[in-house]
Structure formats: C-alpha cells, structure tokens
C-alpha cells in the first residue's frame, strides 16, 4: 500500500468492485458449501436436523464396515482404468481419420461430433435398447457376424461395465474436436523435414504427431479422469447400480446414502474420500507428464 497514489487505489478498488459479484457467488455457492461438507463429514447429519459432531465415525464406518464402499470404488476405478484410455484412443483415432483431405469432410466431422452434444439421459435411453441382449441392434449384428452367444451386456454383471464403456466410445467426438485442433497446429515444416529424412507414415506419427499433441492428450486425460471418477448419470438412468451391484459406481452409492438413507454426513465423508483419490491420481499424472508431455520449444 505504501507509496500508491489515490488514482492507483481507486483503480484497484474498482477492480475489486467489478470482481465482487463473482467473489460473492464463489464464496456463497462454492467455497462455503465445500468447507461445510468437510465439517459435515465429521458429523451425524441427516440433512434435515442440525448436525452432531461424531469425529471420525463416518470415515471409520466407511473403511471398516461398508462393504459397498470398496465394491463401488472398484467399479469406478474400472471405468477410470479402462474407460479413459479407450475413449482417448478412439477420440484420437477418429481425429486422425478426420484430419485427412477428403471431400465432404465437414459433414463427417459434424456426424462424429453429434453424439457428444446429445443429452446424456437421451443417449442412455437409446443405448439401453441398443445394448438389449435379446432385441438390441448390437447383439443382432454380432449374431450376423457369427457370434453364437453374444454378451448379456447390462443384464450380465461381467459385461455391464464394458457395455457402458462401449457407449462412452460413441461420445468420443467431444475429445476428437480438441485432438483435431491440435493436429492442425502441428507445423507442416516438421512433416516435410521428416519426409526428407525418409520417415514413413508410422514413423511420422510416432516422432512428429504424437509428441506435438501430448499437451492435448494430457488435458483430455486429466478431464477424462475427473469425469470418470464422478461417473453417475448413465448408471442412475440405465441400471440403478445393477445387475448385482456391477454398476454401483462410487457416486451412485454416495447419492443413495445422501438421498435415500438421510445420511448427508456420511455422504460428505464419501465425497471427501473421492476428492482425495481423484486428487492423488491427477497429481500422479501431472508428475509423470514431465516425462512424456512435450511443449513446443522445450528440449526433451
């Protein structure tokens, strides 16, 4: 504050005033609820009557007594471990195909992007029928291809999560657009130089394309990670956690605790555990990214 002129002070005051609506909104609707949920996680709180402090009671029950805690965390980790890489591969694959110079490319790009702007609930209802084991198009196609016993998908505990991942691939267009933008930013000069050095298609992809778009892959990886840890809507709409808890994802279990069982405190504790797990994964990915992400101009 020392040595500032009146006009400087007025300038920063106006700045704060302009930012005030956001600051108020952030504190009231973001910071406060987050801190409150931390407090509630140490309480017996039914969401209706005042919370009572019970210390680590919720966390103890979560880790030691709730058999669905590990089951649901496992289900969610399955989606993270298999769903995220699958959608990255498909998103990138489609982007590479759509980066070719073919007539009518704008139409193809629109078509592939379209699923990702469809509301999740609508998509879910549609896929409920596509994945239907007896009357669904996917199994009818598989039968035509000679698969005698196509999977039971959402009726079979072993196939329910793969079914949901398959559905996720259909929406890979969202990531595709970002890859496409990154692909078009790779300088043509690099490809020319690589071609002069005798690099073929595969070699160009591995040594030019891939390193140049790693920042975007990192972005999609982190976003995919966060999204998958919160995997909820599809299971809420399509399976309600069944069959036999195979799609009881962590968020769905949390939701049940909060809204069926009147256990907001317990659900808050679950939310904080999820936050810490997600944070740990995100930090690990960021740490590892030093080794594999290449920002233009850096030396590797």
């Amino acid at each position: 504050m020392i040595g500032r002129t009146a006009s400087e002070r007025a300038y920063s005051r106006n700045g704060v005033l302009f930012a005030l609506p956001w600051l108020i909104g952030f504190s009231a609707f973001f910071a406060y609820p987050i801190l409150a949920s931390l407090y509630f996680s140490f309480c017996n709180f039914d969401g209706v009557r005042p919370p009572q402090w019970i210390g680590l009671g919720n966390y103890r029950e979560l880790f030691l007594e709730d058999d669905l805690f590990f089951k649901s965390l496992g289900n969610t980790l399955f989606m993270v471990a298999f769903g995220v890489p699958t959608s990255i591969c498909f998103g990138l694959g489609i982007a590479l195909l759509l980066n070719q110079k073919v007539k009518g490319m704008a139409i193809y790009r629109t078509v592939y992007y379209l699923p990702s702007i469809t509301p999740v609930v609508a998509t879910s209802i549609l896929w409920l029928w596509l994945l239907n084991p007896q009357a669904g198009l996917i199994n009818l196609a598989l039968q035509h291809l000679g698969v005698a016993n196509p999977p039971g998908w959402l009726t079979d505990p072993a196939w329910a999560k793969p079914g949901l991942i398959l559905m996720g691939v259909w929406g890979a267009g969202g990531g595709m657009v970002i890859y496409l933008a990154a692909l078009q930013n790779v300088p043509a000069a690099l490809y020319e130089a690589a071609a002069l050095d005798g690099a073929g298609m595969v070699s160009q992809f591995r040594n030019v394309t891939l390193p140049m778009i790693t920042p975007v892959i990192l972005f999609n990886l982190i976003m995919g990670l966060i999204g998958s840890f919160q995997y909820f809507t599809e299971a809420y709409v399509m399976t309600h956690g069944g069959p036999e808890d195979a799609t009881l994802f962590y968020s769905l279990h949390l939701f049940n605790k909060a809204f069926f069982d009147f256990r907001m405190g317990y659900a808050s504790a679950m939310a904080w555990v999820l936050f810490l797990v997600t944070l740990a994964c995100a930090v690990a990915v960021f740490k590892s990214s030093i080794k594999w992400v290449y920002y233009g101009g850096d030396l590797r």
Binding site: D46, G47, A135, T155, P157, F260, D261
Partner: protein, 426 residues
C-alpha cells in the same frame, strides 16, 4: 443527484418485499404429478381458487425423482412449500419421526374428518405414524395379475378358472413357456418379481411392530424368495433375464403382455386403461396374487405419493383448507376417475362411476381388504426397500441361497435400524 436517485430506487426495491398487500393468501403446493395428471391437478387448483377468493394456491410441478429429492433440501433450508404431494408413503415415517411434518389430527377433528371412517385400510395403517396422522392421500393402488384367456385356452387351461394357489400359478406359468431354436425364451408365463409384496402374500413380514424389530429373515420371507428363485432355476436364469430385458414400459404397446409374450402380467388398476388403449383385442381376466398354504389371500401392498403439510408452512390454516377440499369425496372422485387410479376414500369407492369398470371394481375390493398393508412405520424403510430389491436380485440373478441372503439382510438392517433409532433419539 444521480446517486440520490439510485439510493431511492434501491430502497424502493428493498421495501417491496415487506409491503403487506391486501388480497388472497398464497399457498404454494408442490406436486409430483406430471403430464396429464398434472393438468388435472391444475384444473382442480383453478377450481379451488375460483371458489375460495381469500386463498390463491400456486401449483408447482416438481417433475420426476428430483422433485422428491428436493424436499429434503427444502426442509433443511426451511424453504418448504405449504402443501406437498412430493413425498412417497415409503418416506413418510422418516420425515414424521424427524419432526418436520405437521400432525393433522387437530385440523382433521376441527373439520370433522376421520382417517378411520373415511380411508381404505392399507392407507390408514401407513398414514398414521406413532399414533398421529401425518398425511392424507387422493389415490391408492393395488397389485394383482391379469391373464390372457386365449393363451390359457390354447394350453388347455380353464380360461374361467384362474390360479388360486402358487402351485396352480406355477403350473399355468410353466405350461405357457415356449423356447426359440437358439434357446432364447419366446413366451413366458409369469415372471416373478417384487419380493416385497410376495412376502406379505406368503404370510411373512418385514417388520414386527409389537417387538419393534425388523424381520427380514422370517421363515415365510425365505419361503417366498425360494419360490421365486425356483422359477429361475427351472429355466436358464440368464435366458429369463435376457427375456425380461426386452420388456417395454407398461405404458406402451411394447409391453410384453400386449404382444402376447407373457400369459400373465402382474399389474395394477391402471391395467384397464392400458388394455383398452394398446391391446383392445386381448381377451383377459384377472385374479388376486395366488397364495401358498397358510398364506394371506387377497394381500396387497399400497404405496404411492401422499399429501403433507410441512411444519415450516407459513399458512397452515389456508394450506389445510386446500388439503381438506382436495381430499374431499367430490374432488377425489374427479381426480381418480380422470387418471384411472383407485380412490382411497370408502365413499368414493361406492360411486357407481367407479363400479362400472370391472377391473376397477376388483381393485377397489382389494384395497378395502383388511389384509392390505402399507409401508411399515420405520424411518429406514426407503433404505430397507432398496436393500430388499438388491437381495432379490442377488438370489434371482446371482443364484445365491435365499436363506443366506436374507440372514445377511437381517443383520445389516438390524444394525441400520439401531443406528437410526439412536439418531432419532427413540
């Protein structure tokens, strides 16, 4: 000068909220009904408003499950409406025992209303919690089985003598099954589900009010689940599940019963309207859930949404005036006849308009049975019902042993019930 005008403007805006305007009292009513049912509720509200100039009811549609979940948040934030029907009978005990609902006994006595004299038995039991009435209803429901007489005739079964015992149901169902060449099921009889209700049919129960304890592993409960599991054991359980997954919604022409894919359909009073609309050519009959030896004949489980007045209501007197009017015979008769639901009022059930439709007449009879049950008055019931459904699935799909699964359910619910009672200070 500019600044002064601004201040005056701000004060004027702030003052608006506090100005007491003469005129009707506004009663906010949250309804869980949507679509056509919402439209009819709205008509009723308009009728009330035009005949009660000192009150203006504002109806707000809280569509879908989100509306029911919003209730908790509204109560926590002390921002409830004055009347709401966004509470399932299932949840009523949980709210009542938390002390957030207004007991209606005094208001009812003052208006000359009586739960015992006016309402059907199943509802009566579930609207009263710990000796006090916490809700009223404008609809009730029941479950029974509708069967296809043509299929019965083809199979050599007497189309005019539907199954009365579970053994007869088993025989009729098994006779109906036909398979495709690839092992998939083409037609089935009755696909058992809804353990919650079947337990009552088998003479079992989920909660013992005298001993105040949960009774998930009552031997009759185990017998009911065993009986259901046998259906899946007699056939390939994956095939049954695959077949079930093709079932369309009850409210569409894709419903398997309308397509002739099942010979028996566990349904409710709405069946009549749907059959007329989607399958007018099917020759059908209906029968109450068949019983085993020693079971409860004509058992039915009544759930459904109920009307409550939250304690936080700002206009209790006006809210009650509206609720009293809405649950009066004339309005209940209008609403139930329009949407094809069973009226919960005994007087309305006697109305010739309801008795003209045979299925409705049958449904009215079932809801009047003293055997009709409602949700037990325990706060954990919503959790309990979810866990019952999981246990059912673990046995039917996962082929786990019924006794083991229900013993496990018993242990978990006992613990949950203890925890809930301690939390509620009971």
């Amino acid at each position: 000068m500019k600044r002064l005008t601004l201040w005056i403007g701000l004060i004027a805006i702030a003052g608006c909220g506090r100005v007491h305007t003469e005129g009707p009292v506004e009663v906010v009513y949250w309804t869980g009904w949507s679509g056509d049912e919402f439209k009819i509720q709205k008509q009723l509200v308009e009728k009330f408003n035009s005949t009660h100039p000192h009150i203006r009811v504002r109806i707000v549609c809280q569509f879908g499950n989100a509306g029911y979940e919003k209730v908790r948040i509204a109560i926590a934030g002390n921002a409830t409406p004055d009347v709401m029907s966004t509470v399932w009978a299932d949840e009523l005990a949980g709210y009542a025992k938390r002390g957030v609902l207004l007991p209606l006994d005094e208001l009812m006595a003052r208006s000359g209303r009586s739960l015992e004299k006016e309402f059907t038995p199943g509802l009566r039991k579930s609207l009263r919690i710990d000796g006090k009435v916490y809700a009223l209803a404008v609809t009730t429901n029941t479950s029974f089985i509708v069967y296809n007489k043509q299929i019965f005739r083809e199979l050599g079964l007497d189309p005019d003598r539907p199954p009365r015992t579970v053994e007869e149901l088993d025989r009729a169902s098994d006779a109906s099954v036909s398979m495709r060449k690839d092992g998939a099921i083409q037609r089935f009889g009755y696909v058992p589900n809804n353990l919650l209700t079947w337990v009552y049919v088998f003479g079992g129960r989920w909660y013992d009010p005298k001993a105040d304890r949960v009774t998930a592993n009552d031997p009759r409960n185990v017998a009911a689940l065993k009986w259901m599991a046998d259906y899946y054991r007699r056939f390939d359980s994956q095939a049954v599940r695959r077949f079930q997954s093709t079932f369309g919604n009850d409210a569409t022409a894709q419903m398997p019963f309308f397509q002739g894919l099942i010979s028996m359909w566990a349904t409710g009073e709405w069946a009549s309207a749907f059959l007329k609309r989607y399958a007018p050519d099917i020759e059908y009959g209906y029968f109450p859930l068949p019983i085993p030896k020693g079971g409860n004949p004509e058992t039915t489980y009544c759930n459904g949404s109920v009307f409550v007045i939250p304690k936080a209501s700002r206009h209790v007197r006006e809210a009650w005036e509206f609720l009293n009017w809405l649950t009066s015979p004339e309005q209940v008769a209008y609403f139930c006849s329009k949407i094809g639901n069973v009226p919960p009022l005994l007087e309305v059930g006697d109305d010739p308009a309801f008795l003209s439709d045979p299925i409705m007449r049958f449904a009215v009879r079932l809801t009047r049975s003293e055997k009709a049950v409602g949700p037990p008055p325990i706060a954990i019931w919503p959790t309990y019902t979810r866990e019952i459904a999981r246990a059912e699935e673990a046995v039917l799909a996962g082929r786990r042993d019924p006794k083991v699964v229900l013993d496990n359910l018993q242990a978990r619910m006992e613990k949950e019930y203890r925890r809930s009672k301690a939390e509620l200070g009971q």
